[in-house]
């Protein structure tokens, strides 16, 4: 009866998406984060490990858990998807017995217990309340049945399945340990020590010790990823890719960041090239401009473009901090400093009302951390940037 409902569908585009017309556009589509390549470079060993683990479980007809961790953008989910794709290919060639693949993502669930509902829906296309779904799944996994298929489950964003009683995590890791369950769970999260930090003893012991950590990409790997995507396309200079890779590897080793910077660099190159037909290669200068855009602190820019009174206010805050040696000052004290600074500059000092407005604006753009306006003169003010940043940003302007 559930098959009567219509499949949800997005309306079609009025005009089809234009296909890339020049080299840089082609490069941009290939560099898009969502364009996952067929083979993931630099993750061969991890692929091998996960593949072997799942394959052995499928062949043995047993269940098990694996915990996969790594900082964002290191290819965890992509590798798991790749493994599943390879396993599917193997089953098609009848090298492996068949299996069913399901996937839950903690971020997509409104509430941890919705995981049961999702699991049940993907397994048997049934809809149920979380409690009922948990019962059904429990029955399915703990009682012997005529089921032959192994179930491979990817539990992404595992840390969001955390509840106070940890019953969701407990069940997900407990079911594979039953003899008849034949469930393989691949749990993915960002922190390496998540099982020790947030899980109870009985939950983390069920998770087992099969763990894998995805290290952040080194600059060579990042370079290889970009080059592999650019195969057969002459859009980048070698050094330009290396610069992007080195900069990203130094900060986070996030492949998405590297791809984003390269994409932005192609856009900059296209804008700067003399004509539409004769496009230049993406060079060091373009990548450098993209890096400046994405890594530079907007706070310094905000302080430099602030109005005169706002600049004086920031200087007054720093002066007050230096006077009293604390990192927090009352508005009334800053007002005194501000009027003094105004007199030095030969400006008319503002009234407290105007000052409150200046302070509120700086607070609303988060250059300052301010309290609620109701404790007006006693309002305490802190800087949200370092004092050196303030002095650096304001000195360059006034020094000229």
């Amino acid at each position: 009866k559930s098959s009567t409902c219509v499949t949800p569908k997005i309306p079609d585009r009025c005009e089809p998406l234009s296909s890339p017309s020049n080299v840089l556009e082609e490069a941009r589509t290939r560099l898009h984060v969502s364009a996952v390549p067929d083979s993931l470079p630099c993750r061969e060993t991890e692929f091998e490990d996960i593949f072997n683990f799942v394959e052995s479980k499928i062949l043995d007809g047993t269940g098990g858990c694996m915990y996969i961790s790594g900082v964002p953008g290191t290819g965890k989910t992509a590798t798991v998807h790749e493994v599943v794709r390879a396993l599917h290919r193997a089953t098609e060639q009848e090298e492996l017995p068949g299996f069913k693949y399901i996937e839950i993502n903690g971020m997509k669930l409104t509430e941890p217990r919705q995981a049961y509902v999702q699991m049940l829906q993907q397994l048997s296309n049934q809809k149920a309340t979380p409690d009922h779904a948990a019962d059904l799944l429990n029955k399915k996994f703990t009682t012997p049945g005529p089921r032959k298929e192994t179930i491979v489950m990817l539990a992404d964003e595992l840390d969001l399945l955390w509840t106070r009683k940890q019953d969701v995590m407990y069940n997900i890791f407990d079911w594979p340990s039953h003899r008849h369950a034949r469930l393989v769970v691949l749990a993915v999260a960002n922190t390496m020590d998540l099982p020790e930090r947030i899980m109870m003893k009985r939950v983390s012991s069920r998770l087992g010790l099969t763990r894998m950590t995805f290290q952040p990409y080194t600059f060579k790997q990042l370079q290889e990823i970009v080059i592999s995507r650019m195969k057969g396309l002459k859009a980048f200079e070698e050094d330009a890719i290396q610069l992007a890779a080195r900069k990203v590897a130094a900060v986070s080793g996030d492949a998405r960041r590297a791809l984003d910077i390269c994409r932005r660099a192609t856009e900059i190159a296209e804008n700067l090239s003399p004509s539409k037909t004769k496009l230049s290669l993406v060079g060091m200068s373009h990548v450098n401009a993209a890096l400046q855009e994405m890594f530079s602190s907007p706070k310094v820019v905000a302080m430099r473009t602030a109005s005169d009174q706002e600049k004086i206010f920031l200087r007054a805050v720093v002066a007050e901090f230096q006077r009293c040696g604390l990192e927090e000052a009352e508005f009334a004290k800053i007002y005194i400093q501000h009027t003094a600074l105004c007199r030095i500059d030969g400006l008319k000092p503002p009234s407290t009302t105007e000052m409150a407005r200046v302070c509120a604006r700086l607070g609303s753009v988060r250059l300052l951390l301010v309290e609620h306006g109701r404790n007006d003169l006693q309002m305490r003010v802190r800087l949200n940037v370092s004092q050196d940043d303030v002095l650096y940003a304001l000195k360059e302007k006034s020094g000229v």
Partner: protein
């Protein structure tokens, strides 16, 4: 007739006829409102002291110009849901249209904006400015954090011609919080000065008396009260209830209307007395009017006033307990030995010298003391032998429950609780007089 068609000057004169001394504010608001179909500022914040005509001016402008508006008071609409529903339902009822069959239900800001747009469509208000007047707007700060920013930007959110008017007694600085919002247009309503007050008050002259006569009376009232009170409604009230006393000699035939000196002689002591009694609400206005009829008003009011009601009947030991609590609260603990132990006159000399530099304990307010000290002081001052029965401890807790004492740091009820004494010196003096105990002799500040 259409309000927007009449020139602004006409409206100004008609509104300021009912509300004098507010021409500049009326002119400013009317020019802000502009014509009906024109867009106006998204939000106006009007502030000024109590009774400076904020609500009156805005209400009468909206009424005379027949602008579609809704008035809500944040004291009545104490939760965001009530506020939304009051605005939406008020839009229907205030504008003389038929009521919707079912009252509008609205839970959150998102629904409010959607329903507001629908309501404006329903009532055909798209082509004119809708005004939402929110009185006592300072209460908005205690509601959900999104209300104030959303109301200030309602014109943009609802994509319609709407103006939100916030009325408050406090300045705009005290509303700012978080990541900021659209600043409203700020209109200040300044206080009335003495002449303006006179001009407004004289409008309510009772019939039968000339305006000059009433103005004379009002200037007498103002000469006494203007130092302490500039609140228009308070002065109006005082002028109304005291007028009967002023004209008493005329009615008796002792004086005429022109006999101002005699009238003043007769009236002045009453006004001075009114300042101490009826203005502080120690006697209610009905009592005051009744007392004015009897000639010896002053004698009555000293006995009947609220402050003279500080006389409370207490049980015998409770009185001593209260005195002991007062002494423990206002005397430093190290002076207890001097006051309450038998032989300790030796140190008296040195204490007296130091007295000059110590601060007055009565200025700093009561200090907390433990139960042990209270009982020690109690046994030192009470006459005869008193057993520490349950009754005595019961009386301490009942003193707490009638708010003559208060328990501080009340986490532990049983193990040495701490108390503070909350009564005034006059009160404790009168209590001590009933048991023939001289409190002042035992108070560190007065020795």
């Amino acid at each position: 007739m259409d309000g927007s068609e009449t020139p602004i000057a006409d409206t100004v004169s008609s509104v300021s006829e009912s509300i004098p001394c507010r021409e500049s504010q009326i002119k400013l608001l009317l020019s802000l409102f502009g014509e009906k179909r024109c867009m106006t500022v998204p939000a106006i914040f009007a502030y000024g002291h109590t009774a400076t005509g904020k609500s009156a001016v805005i209400n009468s402008i909206l009424k005379t110009c027949k602008l579609p508006h809704v008035l809500v008071n944040c004291v009545e609409c104490y939760s965001s849901r009530f506020l939304y529903e009051a605005v939406l339902n008020g839009l229907y009822t205030n504008n003389g249209r038929q009521k919707p069959e079912t009252p509008v239900k609205c839970e959150n800001m998102n629904d409010f904006v959607r329903l507001f747009r629908h309501t404006c469509m329903d009532l055909h208000l798209q082509n004119e400015t809708v005004y939402i007047v929110i009185d006592k707007a300072e209460r908005l700060r205690e509601m959900d954090a999104n209300i104030l920013p959303a109301f200030l930007g309602l014109q943009e959110l609802a994509d319609g011609n709407v103006c939100v008017i916030l009325l408050s007694e406090i300045v705009w600085e005290k509303f700012r919080c978080g990541t900021g919002f659209q600043e409203p247009f700020i209109v200040q309503f300044p206080d009335y000065n003495k002449d303006e007050l006179l001009r407004i008050l004289v409008r309510s002259a009772p019939e039968g008396y000339s305006a000059e006569f009433y103005q004379m009376y009002l200037s007498l009232v103002l000469s006494v009260f203007h130092i302490v009170c500039r609140n228009l409604s308070e002065l109006q009230h005082l002028a109304a209830i005291n007028f009967r006393k002023y004209i008493e000699p005329i009615k008796n035939g002792e004086a005429t209307e022109s006999d101002s000196r005699k009238l003043w002689k007769n009236f002045e002591p009453h006004l001075k007395k009114a300042l101490q009694t009826v203005y502080l609400r120690e006697v209610s206005s009905t009592q005051w009017e009744r007392m004015l009829e009897e000639s010896d008003a002053g004698k009555m009011m000293t006995q009947q006033g609220l402050s003279s009601r500080t006389h409370v009947e207490l049980p015998y030991y409770s009185k001593y307990l209260l005195i002991a609590a007062y002494l423990a609260s206002y005397n430093p603990a190290k002076s207890d030995k001097k006051f309450f132990s038998k032989h300790s006159d030796k140190h008296k000399k040195s204490k007296v010298i130091k007295k000059q530099e110590r601060t007055n304990n009565h200025m700093l307010g009561p200090k907390p003391f433990p139960l042990d000290r209270l009982m020690a002081v109690f046994y030192a001052i009470v006459e005869g032998k008193v057993a520490p029965t349950a009754n005595i401890f019961m009386q301490i807790t009942s003193l707490v429950s009638v708010h003559l004492l208060s328990q501080v740091a009340g986490d532990d009820q049983i193990d040495v609780p701490k108390y503070k004494c909350l009564v005034s010196l006059d009160f404790i003096k009168s209590v001590a007089r009933t048991v023939n105990f001289d409190v002042v002799r035992y108070l560190y500040d007065f020795v």
